[in-house]
Point group: C2
Chain length 241, copies 2
């Protein structure tokens, strides 16, 4: 394959920088490893029919009043009065099967919403990493990995996940990267892959400390390839691809 | 020294993210390796008395009409009608000695201007790396390395320079880092240091291609420790520390 016909795969570190990338990529891969996109993958793996990502607690509350099951997380905690937070474990229940669930989280649903006008928006985490890579490889489209970050700042775990996706795609010979953020993500992934849990410990440290129950969540979210499900956004709702 | 009394050294990747960091750091270290802060270091090393960073071409033009020597760069080129761009070589002239020079560049002067209300703002590049590290080590202040980026996006060479500064300060035992961006900058610096020119080639490639004369500039700017000068912002003007 000659260089001219290669597609781009790039990495955007935060939702705030998305405006400098937008419009050039047909597929946006939204990543929030700790924990929104991991929880979404788990929810679909457990039979959820669809999920509606909303940006604000107010919107989430309106859905709750209409009788929906609603997940709402802020600063790592379930918001009072809602059914779920963004712990993957809370979606491993029979009651979610066949349901439509509304979700708002600090970082992840924000990223989903700013990307929503793109041609195709999918959800990735380390949990569905291989499935996402293999699906993307066959699309022949330009791809942007959009990291959700942490409160508008860069975060390491989303970047490492984005680096893993782009490194895989670059390895097929059908893709190319030119942004410095993509090059950096690749290097960070390559320094992390031998011991991702150890590597990312420093990153999640301050958040883990805030909530003693986060330890198991973090370990789970950092264990790649536990599902082959790929959630995709269709008319404002996430469904199974 | 116990952990409590350690100072922070953190890295902010782009001027756009500065708002999420600002207010917590007494010293802001502005970095634009290719080429604004490198050129500023060279200018002071060649005897410039002071430099006035301005954000717009219009402001620069007003100074030019008043008779100042003015540097103005946009998209890597000297803007027509001005005396200098941001090539370090253009400041290696006897005529700059003792002069006050006005400067506007795509990324670097923008970063200087958004940081200007901080207690202390200094200018760093790879050219004055050691001098900056040793000076910072003795200040007992919280430090933020502010990368200028490239047109509001992350760039690799500024991040590697910031990573070098923070790695040095962390090594003294008197500083600590907690932001993921700082951890990433450190890793990127550590992967770059054995062969910085090779490492950063991928980064500067597209810019180098745009201008055949950039090759020498890039090589110069990526060669550490060619001066011990540290420019510092005082009442809106850069002067020698």
């Amino acid at each position: 394959m000659n260089t001219e016909s290669r597609r781009n795969v790039e990495v955007c570190f935060t939702p705030g920088e998305y405006e400098y990338f937008k419009g050039e990529y047909e597929i946006i891969v939204v990543i929030d490893v700790l924990r929104a996109t991991s929880a979404i993958c788990v929810a679909f793996d457990n039979g959820v029919k669809s999920m509606i990502p909303v940006s604000t607690i107010e919107e989430a509350r309106e859905y709750k009043e209409k009788g929906y099951l609603v997940g709402a997380e802020r600063k790592g905690q379930i918001v009072e009065g809602f059914d779920f937070g963004n712990s993957p474990y809370s979606y491993m229940k029979e009651e979610v099967q066949g349901q439509e669930i509304v979700l708002t989280t600090t970082n992840g649903t924000k990223a989903l919403n700013i990307a929503k006008d793109a041609e195709t928006v999918i959800v990735a985490s380390l949990l569905n990493l291989d499935a996402v890579c293999k699906w993307l490889e066959n699309q022949d489209k330009n791809i942007l990995c959009l990291c959700s970050g942490w409160q508008d700042k860069f975060n390491l775990e989303d970047t490492v996940c984005a680096g893993a996706i782009s490194e895989y795609l670059l390895g097929t010979g059908m893709f190319t990267s030119s942004e410095d953020s993509s090059i950096a993500a690749k290097y960070l992934y390559l320094s992390a892959w031998l011991n991702p849990l150890g590597y990312l410990k420093s990153s999640s440290h301050r958040r883990r400390l805030k909530n003693l129950n986060l330890n198991e969540d973090i370990k789970y979210c950092l264990t790649p390839n536990q599902t082959t499900v790929i959630p995709i956004l269709k008319n404002g709702k996430l469904v199974k691809l």
